[in-house]
């Protein structure tokens, strides 16, 4: 009996998280909500597709950007490596509100205000991504890299044949985390695209769905993220095992 107490506590805590989702799912089946959403809120799906596009692109870019930088911090020795890495950690700790003004000024300079490029770039450059990749690659044995360097000096071939297959679970995790983060942005859309409402992600306009189809809209909003997680789940769990302090 005593052994079951942790299970009971875990189920109780889980139900606190699951209850709002269950409430939304149950209410979505009343009063023809899905019909109302499909017939009268048809632009919802345009926004949904756009949001999935932003999220997938941000996820892909974050992986492409973080991988070589993470490899640099993990395996290449250069002057001030540790200091630069600690600055990355510090930036990672800053909330978005602390950097939004400098981000706005930067995007204004490159004419990316009111453009989806600002959203995608904001989410693609992430210190957390570099940190995760670095932690993963710290466990890659140096002997393998030394052995490979006897055959080829090309860093790109090294990344392609050794590093990427080794770090694939962590790359899947990173893609998933960036996908989820981009999928639910609201503040960045309002700040970086104040006038271009047509290009907003679905998370920023979900509240505009009429009440008659609102709960159905919320349920459909959950589906892409849930399915992406289920597709990448196995890789993601393997990736979590690599996270260790070394």
């Amino acid at each position: 009996m005593i052994r079951k107490i942790p299970v009971v506590i875990a189920v109780a805590i889980l139900s606190v998280f699951i209850a709002p989702i269950l409430y939304v799912v149950v209410r979505s089946f009343e009063g023809g909500q899905y019909y109302e959403l499909v017939i009268n809120n048809y632009s919802y799906f345009k926004y949904a597709l756009r949001t999935i596009g932003y999220s997938a692109l941000s996820g892909f870019l974050s992986v492409v950007i973080a991988l070589p930088v993470g490899y640099l911090f993990a395996k290449v020795r250069f002057k001030f490596r540790n200091i630069i890495f600690y600055i990355y950690i510090l930036v990672m700790l800053l909330p978005f509100q602390a950097t939004q003004l400098s981000g706005y000024l930067l995007f204004k300079r490159i004419n990316a205000i009111d453009s989806p490029v600002s959203l995608i770039l904001t989410m693609s450059f992430s210190p957390l991504a570099v940190f995760l990749i670095r932690q993963c690659l710290m466990s890659l044995p140096d002997d393998i890299i030394d052995a490979y360097s006897l055959e080829s000096k090309s860093v790109f071939r090294l990344l392609k044949t050794i590093v990427i297959p080794y770090a694939m679970p962590m790359l899947s995790t990173l893609f998933m985390l960036t996908f989820c983060a981009t999928y639910s942005i609201v503040e960045q859309a309002y700040i970086y695209m104040p006038k271009n409402i047509e290009a907003y992600p679905l998370s920023a306009v979900l509240g505009s769905v009429r009440e008659e189809g609102y709960f159905a809209g919320c349920v459909i909003y959950l589906l892409p993220v849930l399915l992406v997680y289920l597709v990448l789940e196995k890789n993601m769990l393997k990736g979590m095992e690599y996270y260790r302090w070394s």
Partner: protein
């Protein structure tokens, strides 16, 4: 194929189905809406008392003193009481439409609310009273 093998690809298949559905709706949604929903429909002007003020409304889009209010009832899942909630919209543009077959006049307004959400509303023009039927066409 064993069940485990099928489940592995099931989520990928569902994701592709959802993406295809979204794409079809994004392209064809307006067409489907126009085929199914009537182009011309009638609605009754209703006077709703909210607080100590009265508002003239078509469905739930109401107007008073040159401002647009969205008044709708919220049903609670756990009890049967209803609440009326009003959202005030800042009018950006007004287009007055005179429905040719009738003498009804309605105003189509576009505006934003306090958190910059866009609204398009058909509201009664001044002079229309409670119970009058208006014809709305797209």
């Amino acid at each position: 194929m064993k069940i485990k093998g099928i489940v592995k690809y099931l989520w990928m298949f569902l994701l592709i189905v959802i993406l295809v559905f979204f794409a079809i709706m994004a392209v064809k949604g307006r067409e489907i809406h126009e085929k199914i929903c009537p182009k011309v429909k009638t609605a009754r002007v209703k006077t709703i008392i909210y607080g100590d003020k009265s508002y003239n409304c078509i469905e739930r889009n109401c107007v008073r003193d040159g401002k647009v209010y969205e008044i709708y009832k919220q049903k609670s899942f756990f009890n049967e009481n209803t609440r009326v909630k009003a959202v005030e919209v800042e009018i950006l543009e007004i287009e007055t439409k005179d429905i040719p077959e009738t003498k009804d006049m309605v105003a189509i307004v576009s505006g934003i609310d306090s958190i910059s959400r866009q609204y398009f509303a058909v509201v009664p023009k001044e002079g229309l009273t409670d119970g009058e039927t208006v014809t709305i066409s797209e």
